[in-house]
Symmetry: C2
Subunit: 288 residues, 2 copies
């Protein structure tokens, strides 16, 4: 398949390294909850959502390297909300931002093919630089997600360890070989990346919540990037992120949302807050 | 909360029983894949998707009791596809059909609140009678999904055992008490339903793929409805469904998609095929 976008010929890892050296690794989570739209006095409507998108695009461009819209907050406004999300993705990419769509999609068979076609690669209407997926129906069912991410130079971010406590039962259950679900899935990711990008950072990454520090996972062997959500309001500090990913700090994309958006809707205050945290993470997460 | 829709004061289980006695329990899966839109000569575009919706609405009304659009196939067309999905949901409900949106959403915290507000209860733009969710981040994180389903008389369908083979590692892993993930989650559903609807069928159901017959699950104790996908093309027969759910056949909603849609786009042929399978399931899945 010929990629329609020249930028897409670089891998996501290469593009991440570039924006990281310029702005730091911080991912700005764009989560326009009802309470946020109210606090910003935009109104909890699709028009308010559109104005939110304008404000955060202006604040994020030139301030951070990556943004992460959370699909749920756009789906709340039905098709008009998805129209805003689609515009936001395109405008952010035009401004040089890498866009991670946090949608935690996942199914199998031709349903997964359809999700992959919606979010990854050439012609995808909601074409993201990276997409989060959940593995409850199996990583082995994600063939088209994997191949489209690989071909388009995008990234598939599989939720392995979420930052909330309620997910521990499933994620820490053990398979027949005695490995936990999260260990076994992380090993599968490593196998995929070794095959797709020998000796490099591959296109399959993992979401690892830094709020859980034990048991430790073999992160280096996954040979992928990590999205570390939950910095700030969800309870993890920048220091927690540095500790959890001490073995491969340069592979981490820490994300914060509410702790940054609380300073809006004033654009210069938003820029100051996000720029400060991005700089803090640039210092903390240096290659060893 | 006062429900905006008078029909919503009945529980989903009550409404299912009503459509079941009239049309049988069959759920018609509305999966407009690229290959289907091509085969029907509608074109793989948002306009083609709109025409697909018109055709299946005409064929399903008065033929079956439930339809299940799979969100991925609408997301493939971006916001225009979601506009079609939103119209399809409303038109199907106006025609008396119960609508299960198969989206397998799932997250935690205020993200789950936002998904619940998108798909369940009063004011939801994509308001479904039932919604599928995945439990990788934990059932305990689904408070708003559960409360909105309960209050609105809708149904939350948690994927417990998927019909594909790749999901077995996660779903059959064992927790600290030695129960499999699917057993533990099914028990949690039972606890919720007993609390929310003592002695009745509660608002939390489960997706159980009938392609896996072992190990057996304690289905009766869940006190909920079951969506049994994968009849036809995915390899399960009507007999498999009857066998897996022998202990509570009247609680099962078997779904088929490709094996029905293959007879389109001719509306009368679609009606014949779906009506025949619906009648077959009505005979097979009688209360013991």
């Amino acid at each position: 398949m010929i990629s329609q976008n020249v930028n897409m010929t670089e891998t996501f890892a290469t593009r991440f390294t570039a924006v990281r050296s310029k702005f730091g690794p911080l991912v700005w989570g764009l989560d326009p909850s009802r309470s946020l739209l109210d606090a910003w006095r935009l109104g909890d409507t699709s028009d308010g959502l559109d104005r939110f998108a304008d404000i955060v695009l202006e604040a994020a461009s030139g301030t951070v390297g990556l943004v992460k819209p959370q699909s749920a907050f756009y789906e709340r406004h039905g098709w008009r909300g998805i129209r805003t999300l689609q515009r936001l993705i395109g405008d952010a990419q035009s401004a040089g931002l890498l866009v991670i769509v946090d949608a935690k999609r996942g199914d199998f068979g031709n349903t997964n093919d359809a999700y992959a076609e919606a979010y990854l690669g050439a012609g995808a209407p909601l074409g993201a630089d990276a997409l989060t997926v959940h593995p409850y129906l199996g990583l082995g069912a994600m063939g088209t997600f994997v191949s489209r991410a690989d071909e388009a130079g995008s990234c598939l971010l599989v939720v392995i360890r979420s930052s909330n406590p309620e997910g521990r039962m499933v994620q820490s259950a053990t398979d027949q070989a005695g490995r936990t679900v999260e260990e076994a899935l992380l090993a599968e990711i490593g196998d995929l990346n070794v095959r797709l990008a020998p000796g490099e950072i591959g296109p399959i990454g993992a979401v690892i919540g830094p709020t859980h520090t034990h048991p430790a996972l073999n992160l280096v062997a996954a040979q992928g990037l990590f999205l570390a959500p939950g910095v700030g309001m969800q309870g993890a500090t920048a220091g927690d992120v540095a500790e959890v990913f001490a073995a491969c700090p340069e592979r981490v994309m820490p994300s914060a949302s509410r702790s940054l958006l609380v300073d809006g809707p004033d654009v210069s205050r938003l820029r100051d807050t996000a720029g400060r945290l991005a700089g803090e993470f640039r210092e903390l997460l240096r290659a060893p």
